[in-house]
């Protein structure tokens, strides 16, 4: 162990000291934490509390006596300039600080064993000051908050307020209501002592049981394995050869140990093995009569096309097999990207789930090749409507609370890690109430060649290398995350599947690992995510064909974990790193400097075995090929039939032909799917690293929508990278194939708006699907699987046409809540992310109109495609129209689009176009409105020349392959020449008068002042409750 502290002598249990701190109430000071609670109650629930004050509490378990602590309180726990503190008292009991009797006091702390980041930081600072000798082995600081309420409206239950302030899965709350406060009965949380963990020695599990019992075993053990998989495991242990080798290895010969069974369940989980994407699908299309077999969607539609492209270009360095896909960016640097979902944990604990999502995908980048540096984050969320007023199923949070929690988790995770969030989206649909989708992506960069000559994207482990676990310790948190995410959410979903990230521990580890990489000390690295050590070491052991792990060496958060728990726990902030024996001293010294724990826990071998010991006992002995390739291929049925949908007929609304498009525009701008997300996005650091050349919000007031993020990561050099995304789940209601095509096209269009080099872009496919395996729980499984087939066929067709390789991806296949009639399944959702080369960030474009007189063009063609458009959902939701059906936007000729995109992108790169905006949800009307908002100008637009389709389609339709661009008059001629051969239509020009006028020939359709549009666009999602 690199970080050794001598074991202290066991002493009698120490008293626990309490420190409480509260902000001073003097001139110009305010209790901001209290204010935040007050404003949230107002914004989310319309409850107006007069005043809320806050207290931060610390419970210190240490040999250092209270008296000593009391003397140094101002050096550590409180800031004497702005705060009062007290030791071993409750501040509430002190009239000096709390003169008036409150109406309520609520104290919230963590449950035992839950990650308490402020507590760990406080204990770190505590050690700096006190350097305690003979400290307790389990010395620690636990934190809590007390909120003190004055002026609670009548009929507002204090218990209910408390329920909005904490998540009882991970936190506990104590409440003093008005009566208790009158009697000075204050809430006083005690130190959350962890219940002792009972170590149970590895047990053999008898598999010589009936099929029913096999399934029962899988269910009750949360193994998430089906009968065929259980039978495959059963057969393995019946094999006489296997029994013989097991006997000689000294492990129970004819049945698996619990360690082995858990290890197989993790490794074979849907989460880790992507069994649906790898399955053999019998696909029937009732429309066309097609009847075929697809042997793995992944190999057929994703891997094959990308490998074909890899043969044609020299910049695809590493695809699919590593933690992220790597492309060459210039001669010296390569870049990589990965996106992940963290849906189930975010449903249970939005804050912790989302935070582990973002810091987890950061580790995927750190675990790419020999280690890449994360330099940009993206996040895309799908939630239920934040203003939802309908019923909520048991155990599910209100969408506004999910939004707040997820946002806070991603904000803290990204900001504290020093990685800018440069791109993202938030999508709303009722069905995401059942399962929110939380996509987190990260872009990384690494030098293509290390000082020792090795290519950084290639891992180089050898048998004999020592395998370290680096970073955090292993605890009871995060057991069964991988298998749990492969099941639907229920009321009984386990709390151990939830973890809270610790960005600072991870940041220290990241700093250290990158130094070790540059010093040439790393031969192999991967992160510990789903499946814990069993997956991380198991996957790396494939390189050398074997490993030997000693679980007894793994440092634990608390003693008593059983062997299988240590092996599969998904405790956060851990990397698994292989180091040559000769480099171990240097590696450990580096860990010491950074105060990062690094423990050798395994050795690579070439034995062909995944060999796990606990001390001297062998507790698992699995052939590497059985572990990784033993899982039987699923055989699934898929059947496509066009869903019956009510058509969208907007004309029926306005039989006199006099539609009020101005009002519709303001209503559309206020739709959550279109409305500004600025108040949320601004809370992400999008500029750390000093590289962000196009920020999430653009324009005069820096509040217009950005299409893509653009960064120039080499300081002093304007060479750039574009990061963008596309997501259009609405279209799945008509055709998931069209949904996939539209998502990819949107991501590419967004990148084109920033001037990406369309010949050097790579993509990531992240599928989130409802359960697609036909069963009693999922009677429509065949249809849902057919949706997946169609989505992937479109993915292949469009990506081949765009020459857009999918270099990495992920799927999350059980996004359902409940069962039967009350089952909620998400709409099939593909997030497509794009990262690509931007030759020079000084020549890029943004969506804001730049100046009066700017000439406005439509690039691309509007068609009669109103099916599943945002307008149709708005009018259906309000009951004004009935259906959303009709022609969904199609990508009929993507090859032609690519050539048009290349022309537009190079026009931007050559400075001909400084204004470009993707035309997507809400169509042309919304796009041009957003451009006026960004520039705080008006425009006079005529859509008469945009084809023969209906006014509705030309104004609100979402036909793909379209942009709105602004061109300075003096560059107009050159622009027209540059775009020759491509469909462009002159629409009008930008006006100084801040009013948007849209006409169709002589008919004026829209006339709206820009500031009114700003108002509609910005109000809906501003849920801060107002600043100051």
């Amino acid at each position: 162990m690199a970080f050794s502290t001598p074991l202290p002598e066991r002493v009698l249990p120490m008293p626990i000291s309490r420190v409480e701190v509260t902000p001073k109430q003097s001139d110009g000071m305010r209790d901001v934490r209290g204010d935040v609670v007050r404003r949230q109650l107002m914004a989310d629930h319309g409850i107006d509390v007069t005043e809320v004050r806050s207290i931060n509490g610390f419970l210190i378990k240490s040999t250092v006596e209270s008296e000593e602590i009391s003397k140094r309180v101002d050096d550590l726990f409180s800031d004497p300039i702005i705060e009062h503190a007290t030791t071993n008292n409750l501040l509430l009991a002190s009239p000096e600080y709390f003169q008036n009797t409150p109406d309520a006091a609520i104290t919230i702390g963590f449950k035992p064993g839950v990650t308490d980041n402020p507590g760990s930081a406080a204990y770190d600072g505590f050690k700096t000051i006190f350097s305690p000798k003979n400290e307790l082995e389990d010395a620690a600081i636990s934190t809590y908050q007390t909120y003190v309420f004055y002026g609670i409206p009548e009929n507002t239950s204090v218990e209910w307020i408390a329920s909005t302030l904490h998540n009882n899965l991970i936190q506990r709350a104590l409440v003093s209501d008005s009566e208790a406060c009158q009697q000075s009965l204050w809430p006083a949380l005690e130190y959350p002592e962890k219940p002792p963990q009972v170590f149970s020695p590895p047990q053999p599990i008898n598999l010589e049981i009936s099929d029913e019992e096999l399934l029962e075993l899988s269910d009750s053990g949360l193994l998430a394995l089906n009968l065929e998989e259980m039978q495959t495991i059963q057969a393995h242990y019946r094999d006489e050869k296997i029994r013989a080798t097991r006997k000689s290895a000294g492990i129970v010969p004819h049945s698996p140990t619990d360690v082995e069974l858990e290890c197989l369940a993790q490794t074979w989980s849907e989460h880790c093995k992507h069994k649906i994407f790898a399955s053999k699908i019998h696909h029937i299309d009732k429309e066309t009569g097609e009847d075929t077999v697809i042997d793995s969607i992944f190999k057929t539609h994703i891997m094959k096309p990308t490998h074909d492209m890899q043969n044609e270009v020299d910049w695809l360095l590493s695809v699919f097999h590593d933690n992220s896909g790597v492309i060459a960016w210039d001669d010296e640097w390569s870049i990589c990207m990965k996106a992940e979902t963290h849906n189930s944990p975010s449903a249970l604990d939005p804050y912790g789930g989302a935070m582990t999502g973002i810091v987890g995908v950061n580790r995927d980048i750190l675990g790419t090749g020999l280690g890449a540096r994360p330099i940009a984050n993206t996040d895309v969320f799908c939630f239920g409507p934040p203003n939802w007023e309908g019923d909520l199923p048991d155990n599910l949070f209100h969408p506004s609370r999910v939004l707040r929690g997820v946002h806070a988790g991603v904000r803290v995770g990204g900001n504290e890690s020093g990685i800018p969030t440069v791109n993202g989206a938030i999508v709303f649909d009722d069905r995401y109430i059942g399962k929110p989708l939380v996509y987190c992506g990260t872009v990384g960069i690494m030098p293509r060649q290390l000082a020792d000559g090795r290519q950084s994207h290639i891992k180089t482990p050898s048998a004999g290398d020592i395998v370290y676990m680096v970073g955090g310790r292993v605890g009871y948190d995060g057991i069964h995350g991988a298998t749990f995410s492969s099941l639907e959410l229920t009321e009984e979903s386990p709390s151990s599947a939830v973890q809270i990230g610790d960005p600072i521990t991870q940041k220290k580890m990241l700093d250290m690992v990158l130094e070790a990489r540059d010093a040439g000390l790393i031969t192999c690295i991967t992160d510990n995510g789903a499946g814990g050590l069993s997956s991380s070491i198991g996957e790396m052991a494939e390189y050398t064909n074997g490993c030997e792990i000693d679980l007894a060496k793994v440092p634990l958060k608390q003693p008593g974990l059983s062997a299988w728990e240590i092996l599969v726990s998904e405790s956060q902030e851990r990397m698994t790193v292989a180091v040559k024996v000769s480099d171990c001293d240097a590696f450990e010294a580096m860990a010491n400097l950074h105060e990062v724990e690094a423990t050798p826990v395994a050795t690579f071998t070439s034995s062909g075995m995944f060999h796990v010991k606990f001390g001297t006992d062998t507790v698992a002995y699995l052939p590497i090929d059985f572990l990784h390739d033993g899982v039987p291929q699923l055989q699934l049925e898929s059947e496509w039939q066009l869903p019956k949908t009510e058509p969208f007929l907007p004309d029926l609304l306005y039989l006199d032909g006099d539609a009020d498009h101005s009002t519709l525009l303001l209503r559309m701008l206020a739709r959550p799917n279109i409305a500004s997300k600025e108040s949320w996005v601004r809370q992400y650091d999008h500029e750390v690293i000093a590289q962000t050349a196009v920020k999430p919000f653009v324009g005069v007031e820096r509040d217009g929508p950005g299409d893509a993020g653009v960064i120039a990561p080499l300081h002093g050099n304007p060479h750039g990278i574009v990061i963008s995304c596309g997501i259009v789940p609405r279209y799945s209601d008509l055709d998931a194939g069209a949904m996939a095509a539209a998502s990819i096209d949107e991501a590419v269009r967004n990148a084109v708006c920033a001037g990406v080099d369309v010949d050097k872009i790579a993509g990531l496919d992240n599928f989130c699907w409802p359960d697609s395996i036909e069963s009693v729980k999922t009677p429509d499984g065949k249809f849902k699987l057919a949706q997946l087939v169609r989505a992937n066929r479109e993915l292949e067709r469009v990506c081949r046409a765009y020459r857009l390789p999918c270099v990495s991806g992920k799927d999350s296949m059980k996004n359902d809540y409940g069962a039967g009639e009350n089952k909620i399944s998400i709409p099939p959702t593909l997030l497509y992310s794009v990262f690509g080369d931007q030759p020079d960030v000084r020549f890029t474009a943004t969506s804001d109109f730049k100046s009066a007189g700017e000439r406005v063009y439509l690039v691309g063609t509007s068609k009669e495609e109103l099916g599943a458009c945002e307008l149709s959902y708005m009018l259906r939701d309000s009951g004004e129209t009935q259906g959303i059906g009709g022609q969904v936007p199609l990508l009929l000729n993507p090859e032609k689009n690519l050539s048009m995109y290349r022309a537009l992108s190079t026009a931007i790169q050559n400075g001909l176009v400084r204004t470009a905006h993707d035309c997507s949800e809400g169509g042309l009307a919304v796009a041009v409105a957003e451009m006026c908002i960004g520039g705080r100008v008006g425009a006079e637009i005529d859509i008469d020349g945009t084809g023969k389709s209906s006014v509705w389609a030309r104004l609100w339709g979402e036909s793909l392959g379209r942009f709105l661009v602004g061109v300075q008059p003096e560059q107009e001629t050159e622009f027209i020449q540059w775009m020759s051969g491509h469909p462009i239509t002159y629409l009008g020009e930008v006006t100084k008068t801040p009013t948007l006028i849209i006409s169709d020939g002589y008919d004026k359709l829209v006339e709206t002042e820009t500031n009114v549009m700003v108002d509609s666009w910005q109000k809906t999602l501003d849920m801060t409750g107002g600043v100051v």
Partner: protein, 284 residues
């Protein structure tokens, strides 16, 4: 002449170390990112450097108050090295979290003019923004032309991003501010961009978001009485080039029209770092 050596601290959640090192290099410095513990364990000594930069970030997660725990590490483990560094008249800058660290160690605003070097007693603080939110947004800053601050010479007004949740500068009483004001230690303030350049500074609290945090007297940054130690919440390193300014796609990013390193693309923030390098060179 040898380039001035700049120590850029990193470790424990400091995040802006790479760009802070880079901007010093762009203006002729020779910067090195050095882990805090290398100064503590004696592998490195501050004495070997001409300038110290404490970059932005989230040291120790900002738990127990931003900059607090890192401030304590410096206060207790690097006290002597820091004392000598300041006594030797070497410039120090703290940006964002680095400013919070310097305030919490007591190096900023520092003891009165008459004292002999730093006393490591905290006299001011940076606390939660009035908005209760961490925010990344651009602000306009104006500098006190009479300030002794060596970092801010010849800079009038710049645009800059702030990225913090705890940037409200507070001191216990108005007399504290009056003393600093008299010494022109209130080196940089948030100003209304619509005011005339040179006339933006006011003691009256400006509304959100012109003042992003409700800072007393709109203070964005302060220097010590010598003008050598300087800290500010906004990030001048984040606008070292015009292409990082939000207006660059509107062809209206402000900044010098020519520079040795970036031609017409130098951003307004770079001058702060150049000032310190030139100061060190001028003292040789």
């Amino acid at each position: 002449m040898l380039p001035p050596k700049v120590a850029v601290l990193f470790g424990f959640g400091i995040n802006c170390d790479h760009e802070t090192a880079a901007v010093f290099n762009l203006v002729g410095g020779q910067s090195e990112r050095i882990h805090v513990n290398h100064f503590v364990d004696g592998t490195q000594n501050l004495d070997n450097f001409d300038i110290l930069a404490v970059p932005g970030g989230f040291s120790f997660g900002d738990h127990l108050g931003s900059g607090r725990l890192m401030g304590n590490r410096l206060r207790f483990a690097l006290r002597d090295q820091l004392q000598k560094f300041v006594a030797d008249g070497k410039p120090i800058i703290g940006i964002c979290n680095g400013f919070q660290v310097l305030v919490k160690t007591g190096l900023l605003p520092g003891p009165s003019v008459e004292s002999n070097g730093p006393d490591f007693i905290q006299t001011a603080s940076l606390t939660l923004n009035d908005s209760g939110q961490y925010e990344d947004r651009w602000v306009t800053l104006e500098f006190d032309p009479k300030s002794p601050c060596i970092w801010t010479k010849n800079i009038q007004r710049i645009d800059c991003p702030v990225r913090h949740g705890e940037g409200k500068f507070v001191m216990p009483s108005t007399t504290d501010f009056d003393a600093l004001s008299e010494n022109h230690q209130l080196a940089v303030r948030y100003v209304d961009p619509s005011t005339e350049i040179g006339h933006g500074i006011t003691d009256e609290p400006l509304p959100f978001p012109i003042s992003p945090n409700g800072s007393m007297r709109n203070i964005a940054g302060v220097c010590d009485s010598s003008g050598l130690v300087f800290g500010l919440m906004p990030h001048p390193e984040a606008v070292y080039a015009k292409w990082l300014h939000p207006d660059h796609t509107r062809d209206s990013a402000p900044g010098p029209n020519s520079s040795e390193v970036l031609g017409k693309w130098e951003g307004e923030g770079l001058q702060i770092f150049r000032n310190a390098i030139q100061y060190v060179l001028s003292q040789r």
